[in-house]
């Protein structure tokens, strides 16, 4: 277990690593849905807002697992 979760300090205020991971997850999901819209792949989805939440959750999980330990 090399990854040890640690809080992020901004001006002496400690933020949970999950906050950063989820922010990055949402940004990555936004970029993904932009591409899905651009190439009209969103038309295969039943309810895109829900898919967006799912993509953001997947990205957050991946970032939390591999980049920023949460």
């Amino acid at each position: 277990m090399d990854y040890i979760p640690s809080e992020i300090s901004v001006g002496g205020v400690y933020f949970p690593p999950l906050l950063l991971a989820s922010t990055l997850g949402v940004v990555a999901a936004l970029l993904t849905v932009l591409l899905l819209n651009r190439y009209r792949l969103s038309r295969f989805m039943l309810y895109p807002p829900m898919i967006f939440v799912a993509i953001a959750a997947i990205y957050t999980g991946l970032i939390g697992t591999f980049l920023i330990p949460v």
Binding site: F15, L19, V33, N37, R43, L46, Y47, P48, P49
Partner: protein, 722 residues
């Protein structure tokens, strides 16, 4: 001497009022002086009248909200679920009213102030009454300060603006009338007058706003407010009547009008002179012409050779010109009374033209349900997880959503404005405010920042950015008499803002999809469903008194049908046309205009259906009218299921409808021949011709819509998108 622009003067007034309001609040030792600052920031508008009007709405809304909040707290303070439940019902009701047309800002204040007081009380019950009173007094003081500043410093009266708006409106409507007259005579096209029609709608809105403001700051306008109101209603009626007149040109243009309607030019010239006289009066000149009653006459000998549908078109044209005659005369009378020319303003102003509409509006109901859902989610999250910001999370999240629903704007857009404001406020809070000492320096900062925000973000389309900046600036700096600085507090505010944004966005995206093109499609479906229902109730043998629900639905759908095209136009304006390049804004606008025409035709047909028809004709032509009605109903049902049309389908539809109308015409001919002279009165003939004219008008409006619909790429709008 430096000459200040209007924009600079308005910014100075707001900034000065802000400094004074903060100064009084701090001087009196009141907590939360930013509440007074909010009142100043929100009611600051370009004229005293507009600000006074908004200020009164804010004050009354705050008082009602205070009373409602204290009642909810008194009754349900011991049970948090009842507390949240009743609050959600109250907010849902307010939100339903906010999304209506009248007293929007009053209901908005009723909602959000109650939420603020209740959430404050939920965390500090003993001070609930003090919080409510404090909110009321801070709001009242802020409004008073801004009003006094606006009255004494560069006061701007709205009376001039109202006169100007009226003059522009009348000039535009007169130009539209003249262009339609030319169009009837074969000069120009309907497309050429489209910019004028758009301008007319904008001017009607401007006139309504100017009247609302002028009533508040001009005694003369207040004295004649009923006459002004009536003038506004008549201008609206004129817009509708002119449109209906234009839509009937296709039927009347092929005829020899000078033979069929011998005094048509005389009637049109009389109307023209009336408009010119109204324009004269608005320019301060006495009217050069007094209206004289004139009726369009029909030459019965010349109409004898016409087909039944042509006769019907002639009768319809006469009823439309009669309506224009009545409206233009009442407009003339209104302006003559207002301007004091000739006889004094003694005539009685008729009652409101539009009766109240029964029933619930599904769009407004949806807004109310979303608000209740936000309360239902925010409170349990607060109870069980206590997120950053605590009560502020609940307040911000719900207010955020309500604001989005009110202005029909994606919460993400509002969140961006608030985040920019929060960052801007944070810079001042962290780097500037700790350097200040005393009110002179703080006041200078408040003045400079408020001035800068109101000066740079002055255009109407920047209103969201302006509000986001000023609100977050006032919240973040958190001015108090015992000022403290805490970065953690700032970070918490930012975190609660982000979480509140997430809550609002999540509720916003609950089904049905809030995307403008999807809202447009849903509303279009509703339009066709209502149309189908109304047409099905037009059967000549349908018993009008059958069932309370049916009657209620008929009344509701009839009034709702005319309200849907303006709503569709508003959603059409929000569609991102870059994402749907196949459907240009002009095409969409033309489509909405065709729906408007269709709605008018259905309304006219329903009105004609109410006229008494000869039993003999009803009996003879029942089957043929039914066959036509079934074709129309079938098409409306198809559009309700899917508004798309295959290429060439409109031509096929035109052929089908016209064939059916030709058959109906032949049957009418046959029936009249069989019935013979003397068995039908002239009123029977007239009523029947008007009904026939409505059939043709509706058929042509439907065909015109079909032609536009087949050119749009509906599949693109129907596709799911993020």
């Amino acid at each position: 001497m430096i000459t200040l622009s209007r924009r600079a003067k308005e910014a100075i007034k707001t900034a000065l009022a802000m400094v004074i309001a903060y100064g009084i609040s701090l001087g009196m030792g009141w907590e939360n002086p930013y509440w007074a600052g909010f009142a100043v920031a929100m009611i600051s508008l370009s004229t005293v009248g507009q600000s006074l009007n908004k200020g009164v709405m804010r004050m009354l809304g705050t008082l009602v909200a205070g009373a409602a909040a204290l009642t909810i707290i008194a009754w349900y303070a011991q049970d948090r679920w009842w507390f949240a439940g009743i609050l959600s019902v109250y907010l849902g009701f307010c939100m339903y009213m906010v999304t209506g047309k009248k007293r929007t800002y009053f209901w908005w204040c009723c909602a959000f102030v109650c939420l603020i007081i209740c959430t404050h009380a939920a965390s500090d019950l003993t001070n609930a009454f003090d919080v409510a009173v404090l909110r009321v007094q801070q709001t009242g003081m802020g409004i008073l300060v801004y009003t006094l500043v606006a009255v004494f410093l560069w006061p701007s009266n709205t009376r001039g603006a109202l006169d100007e708006a009226t003059r522009k409106l009348v000039t535009t409507q007169a130009r539209i009338y003249r262009s339609y007259r030319a169009l009837l005579n074969g000069q120009g096209t309907a497309e050429e007058s489209r910019p004028l029609r758009l301008q007319e709608v904008q001017l009607l809105n401007q006139h309504e706003q100017a009247l609302l403001s002028a009533k508040a700051d001009s005694y003369e306008v207040w004295e004649l407010r009923h006459r002004w109101r009536y003038f506004h209603h008549q201008s609206f009626a004129l817009m509708e009547a002119l449109e209906q007149w234009r839509e009937s040109f296709a039927e009347i243009q092929p005829l020899d009008r000078s033979a069929v309607l011998p005094n048509l030019q005389a009637v049109c010239t009389e109307l023209d002179r009336r408009f010119a006289a109204i324009e004269d009066m608005l320019s301060g000149k006495p009217p050069a012409h007094s209206p004289r009653a004139i009726t369009l006459t029909i030459d019965s000998a010349a109409t004898g050779a016409l087909t039944h549908f042509q006769k019907a078109a002639v009768v319809v044209t006469r009823s439309q010109l009669d309506r224009l005659e009545v409206i233009s005369r009442s407009l003339f009378d209104s302006i003559r009374d207002i301007k004091g020319y000739g006889v004094p303003a003694s005539s009685v102003v008729p009652e409101e033209m539009r009766a109240g509409r029964p029933g619930l509006d599904p769009d407004r109901l949806q807004a109310a349900i979303r608000t209740m859902a936000a309360v239902g989610i925010a409170f349990p999250v607060w109870f069980y997880f206590d997120p950053p910001g605590h009560a502020a999370f609940v307040q911000l999240g719900i207010i955020f959503l309500m604001a989005s629903l009110m202005v029909r704007l994606d919460p993400a857009t509002i969140l961006k404005a608030l985040l920019v404001g929060a960052v801007f406020g944070g810079v001042l809070y962290v780097f500037v405010m700790p350097q200040l000492s005393g009110y002179l320096q703080l006041g200078a900062m408040l003045f400079a920042v408020t001035f800068a925000i109101y000066y740079w973000l002055w255009q109407p389309q920047q209103a969201v950015a302006k509000m986001g900046m000023i609100v977050m600036f006032l919240v973040i700096i958190g001015v108090q008499n015992q000022q403290t600085y805490d970065f953690a507090q700032y970070a918490n505010t930012l975190a609660s803002l982000a979480l509140a944004g997430v809550l609002a966005i999540a509720i916003w995206y609950l089904p049905p999809s809030p995307r403008p093109e999807k809202q447009f499609l849903r509303m279009l479906q509703r339009f066709f469903r209502h149309s189908d229902f109304l047409i099905s109730r037009l059967a000549l043998d349908w018993d009008q008194n059958k069932g309370i629900v049916d009657r209620w639905k008929t009344i509701y759908y009839r009034s709702n049908l005319l309200e849907l095209p303006p709503k569709l136009l508003s959603w059409a304006g929000k569609i991102d046309h870059r994402a749907f390049p196949d459907n240009s804004p002009e095409q969409v606008q033309a489509l909405v205009t065709s729906l408007h025409a269709l709605a008018h035709r259905i309304k006219a047909l329903a009105a004609m259906r109410d006229l008494p028809q000869a039993d003999l004709l009803v009996k003879e032509l029942l089957d043929d009218v039914r066959a036509w009605r079934l074709i129309v109903e079938q098409q409306l049902q198809l559009w309700a299921d899917n508004p798309a049309m295959a290429p060439g389908a409109s031509a096929e539809m035109q052929e089908r409808v016209m064939k059916r109308l030709a058959r109906l015409e032949a049957r009418v001919e046959e029936t009249f021949a069989r019935v013979g002279e003397g068995r039908l009165s002239s009123e029977d003939y007239q009523n029947f011709y008007r009904l026939l004219g409505s059939f043709r008008g509706l058929s042509e409006a439907g065909i015109a819509h079909a032609r536009l619909a087949e050119k749009l790429n509906w599949a693109q709008w129907q596709e799911a998108r993020f």
